[in-house]
Subunit: 127 residues, 2 copies
């Protein structure tokens, strides 16, 4: 029997998607809006200093606590909280315990921004 709710009208459960993520620091795309992507990611420990010259970057924490360090301060982001890192601003995410979050940013943005290097995750991987 044909469903009343075709697959194209299926909501995306962020907790379910995060349950499929097996690797930390590896953003996984769950949806797109115009040329933006929604990515779930698990972070733990320290990252590298980097910035995104072309774009702001949004962090929405779903579980746990994230700290983002800046050269002149820091922000604490808890579950249900949002923060937008302005474009070009150097930042370094840190989580004492594993934190689960959603990133929102234009398609093509790399996790290490302009810094590059070994912590750069494969981009545009869907889950």
């Amino acid at each position: 029997m044909q469903s009343l709710y075709p697959m194209k009208y299926k909501s995306i459960n962020l907790t379910e998607k995060l349950g499929l993520v097996t690797e930390q620091w590896a953003p996984r795309v769950v949806a797109e809006m115009n040329d933006y992507q929604f990515k779930v990611v698990k972070l733990e420990g320290d990252f590298i200093w980097h910035s995104h010259k072309e774009t702001d970057e949004t962090f929405l924490v779903l579980e746990g606590d994230l700290r983002i360090d800046f050269r002149d301060g820091a922000v604490q982001i808890g579950a249900g909280e949002l923060f937008v890192v302005p474009k070009g601003v150097e930042h370094k995410p840190y989580a004492g315990k594993e934190v689960k979050l959603m990133l929102i940013e234009p398609r093509g943005v790399l996790n290490t921004g302009d810094a590059g290097g070994e912590r750069t995750a494969k981009n545009d991987v869907w889950i």
Copy 2:
């Protein structure tokens, strides 16, 4: 004493912001990312059919259950779930009980899209 965490590095608590919203169907901007806005809104009951010709529109439900009707189906979106309405697709949100959610869309998008009319909320109101 100067704070270690300047106001510019303050996270946005979505539950707190929704607590300040006194009116249903009245989106309130809480943050911007490039030319996109994050808006919290409380919905209850039925809305009007409309579409947004120029853009996709993202719904992230924070509390309660939202149904979005389409001409050929519907989607149920619960707390912690996301759905992107594709641009140009007619839709009509409905909530049997009050639902609290976040909208993500480009600055300037009206809640009634191309339909207009008396349900059109004042745009670009921050909270």
